[in-house]
Symmetry: D2
Subunit: 303 residues, 4 copies
């Protein structure tokens, strides 16, 4: 397949779009990012990597980090993790507190904010935040085979200053006994994990551990690969997950920094970055780019 | 692969289960079905069919019928259908009315009851109920290559007598202008579609049109196949859809009669029947049986 | 007190208002009413009656009728009625279906639509709709000492044609076993009760049975008077009840026809009519008029 | 009226009750209070005071303190306060976070926890917590004409240690810009205000400023008296407010310490204390005691 040509066509189509969505505005560091940015990278199971646009520009991966912390937590706790967090789509926005009240402080899934806080809280057990963040970076660097992946401290500090909504979620879960550390500590760790910076190329490389191709080494078992992909497909785009599955047909996880990690099982790991978001908080043109890529390659998990 | 052996092992494991769930109790015709029933059939892309248990006993397909009406509606209206119904998981029980109020009478997806009523209402446009039901039966019979598929009138009448919850949903949507026929007419058609009886073998045969295998003739386009499978995966088991995707890893649609249709894209159509339901209204042992089948075959859309 | 002067001042202030709210628009018969109408009447415990504006023009009392059906139901069933309907403010719009789902088909109070349907359903026990409506009219006429009070059939028919939302509520309660008649029958009776026409003078006269003044004959016990006034104060203006209590300080019940019945315990029954509604579905200028009346007379139940 | 005899009868009836409700269990200091306690005091407009039971035993007034902080806030800000908090019954439990999400961080009324936090946050403007608490104690002591009213520091510290639910509410409102101080500071002040200890006699004396009787000096205007009584009647018992209005017919405010302050406008201020709570978090036997008192005296604002 002419991956280079496909990516070039997509880049051209994306460049022509006038409605580019709106960058996240809750912290200045994200709000001031130019929505004109676009980068995409595809890491194939055969080792080749194709890119287009700003594939080597760093962006804030934000909630894409939840895929990596979930992998660590599943590796450490296995199915015991599910006593503290569900695995159902929530049908609600990413930062909603409604369901928590109905369901006794148990978040619906590990990819909404409340659920991701529980996952981070779990891997903090017995460790200092610094250790957990170190382990997370080592895991991501190993997956990406790239040591040059870091946390943007200015973003982390800004998240902390504007962290009231996540602190509300954390205190609420603490009130239900579903947080094992002080809310400020769990949230602080979470804000730093979200502030990891990566390039599209690095993210595509890092995502290979979820492709499940025989050629790839994976840090986790085949069963875990499948389960994480299942969660990405049903819950990876908040209350836009059904739409993403319908249009793209591949598991993916988005972040409010405008990044999306998409897995084509057995074939490739794909990363895209476009900072403008749609109404559900997912990258508007990033979604379009991977939809086009799936159409042009014919890739879909659904037939 | 030794499909026969796999199915025999599964049948044995299912027979040994003491907690079999509870049959649906809202109409006598379903409530009195013995939870000991179990049947399963697998229709492979190469034409072979394997079965175990009561593969030739008829059961009420109930909401599995929504897959077939959705196929007809997508064929007739294409993406215009999505102006009247969403395609997101609802995070709520199958018969909930909550989301309708928040979202102006637009149901979340075509597989919850409200959404299925809209789909039926759509295909009623310009047709009498009798015609629509005739078209639906012809479609299912053609897919299954079996003329001996019928509506159980006693079930249809009983659904009508106990149809207040669905009538509430229909009137509510009518109040929002999202029902184009009198609620009693749309509901009446819907109750009859749910009362279609099939055997596991017939249902597995009928489901082949969603496998997307080159050997299979399909009544719908590859794009439609993928989209319906995507909807089955994200929404096919109500507020248990995430759990089904996590455990089974294949698209499926359940009915309160205890049937589940599962698609292994490119490989097979699988039907299972066990009348006892779990808390989310999906067949408890039917889910276990297809989970085991996916484990033993290694089939998964997720890697 | 110079009631005549007070009412004249109020009429002048109301006439000068340019923002008059919006008449109910769900049926043509209410939508086409001119928002310039205004009438008010005060029936004092000493027998005197004062009026201003169109005190002898008929309007559709709509939900004000719920006070009279509740009185009949309490008279017939006493506290047994509360097994089928609560007596708490709902915090939700008048026609919301949300709480019904959370609370198993038991409406929050008898003044939201769902609760009023249950009250009407209760007094239908053993009676034909015609008989119940006859009894209701006889009760209102006796209270008002005026035989010239009737149902507007055109309004009743129009409510029936646009009755989907109430039918949804009724079917929903039927599904929970909290409706003892066919939804169409209970709703039909309810639509006719809401279509009763009265003038402000007639309504003020009819409301005297809730004043609890020794000079007034009352068709119901002192205990029932107090309880109905309590319900009017906490629940009589839907999700605007708290605001009405805060601003006016007297129990009242509004209708979407723009009428409000207000009780000053021990002193007077007050009726006001202005068709334009506020966001909560209560008469905008009617509320202002009774707020001014309470200020000028110094009447309040709160000190 | 034989107030002494009435109170003696009530004390006897309360003593005979076997189902006494359950003391609040979220902090040890409240959980360990013996539910057998009972005390009641009535301060009449003519200056006489009648008591029964443990009228001179201190208890934690908890949410009854919200009446006093609201009085201070209304005195300082007047109707400007209502831009930050509503005045409608919520229809939800005292500590619910649901409505906050729907309504952009504006609490429904000043008597649910979220609303009380906003009121405390308002009176903190320009003042240190110590100053605000000092002003509050001076106000209460002046109302009660009793200097011996203090904060129980052990209770305040314990509330702080178990304050996650209120911190969640505070952070949530901060995220919506409706908290002007750091959540920990506003919550800390709030926890101390709730930890004020009073005896039934002191509370009845302090409540006289809301009676609106000419004989009583009041620290606030007649208009404010009426408005606070209106809010107590519609919102003073959380999602049991409608029931309290129906059964008792007088404005009241409860606290989870088992105290209730009840106002009979123009007549008396009544305080009751019984630590066991009902399902809505209001004193079970305290409610019964004031219901009996209203029946025996014939007092009601409703006729």
């Amino acid at each position: 397949m002419d991956y280079e040509g496909i990516l070039a066509q997509i880049a051209q189509e994306i460049a022509a779009q006038t409605d580019r969505g709106t960058p996240a505005d809750y912290i200045p560091q994200l709000a001031c990012v130019d929505p004109a940015h676009f980068g995409m990278a595809v890491a194939l199971a055969d080792g080749r990597v194709f890119t287009t646009g700003e594939a080597d520009t760093r962006f804030s991966i934000q909630s894409v980090s939840k895929v990596f912390t979930l992998s660590l937590a599943l590796g450490r706790f296995g199915d015991r993790l599910w006593s503290r967090v569900g695995r159902e789509p929530s049908g609600l926005p990413f930062n909603s507190i409604l369901q928590l009240e109905h369901e006794q402080g148990i978040p619906r899934n590990p990819f909404i904010n409340a659920g991701a806080l529980v996952v981070t809280d779990a891997i903090l057990a017995g460790h200092a935040p610094r250790e957990v963040l170190g382990e997370l970076l080592r895991f991501i660097r190993a997956c990406a085979e790239d040591e040059d992946i870091h946390i943007d401290d200015a973003v982390a500090r800004s998240e902390t200053r504007h962290g009231d909504r996540n602190l509300a979620l954390a205190h609420f879960m603490a009130a239900h006994g579903n947080l094992h550390h002080v809310p400020a500590l769990t949230c602080g760790t979470y804000f730093h994990q979200c502030a990891i910076e990566m390039t599209p190329r690095q993210l595509a490389m890092a995502g290979r551990f979820l492709v499940g191709a025989s050629g790839f080494p994976s840090q986790i078992s085949t069963g875990s690969v499948r389960r994480i992909n299942a969660l990405m497909l049903t819950c990876g785009h908040y209350d836009g997950s059904g739409d993403f599955a319908y249009r793209v047909g591949l598991p993916g996880k988005s972040g409010v920094g405008g990044g999306i990690l998409v897995i084509a099982p057995g074939r490739a790991s794909i990363a895209v970055w476009s900072p403008g978001l749609n109404a559900q908080g997912n990258s508007a043109l990033g979604t379009l780019a991977v939809e086009r890529f799936a159409q042009k390659t014919g890739w879909s998990v659904f037939g």
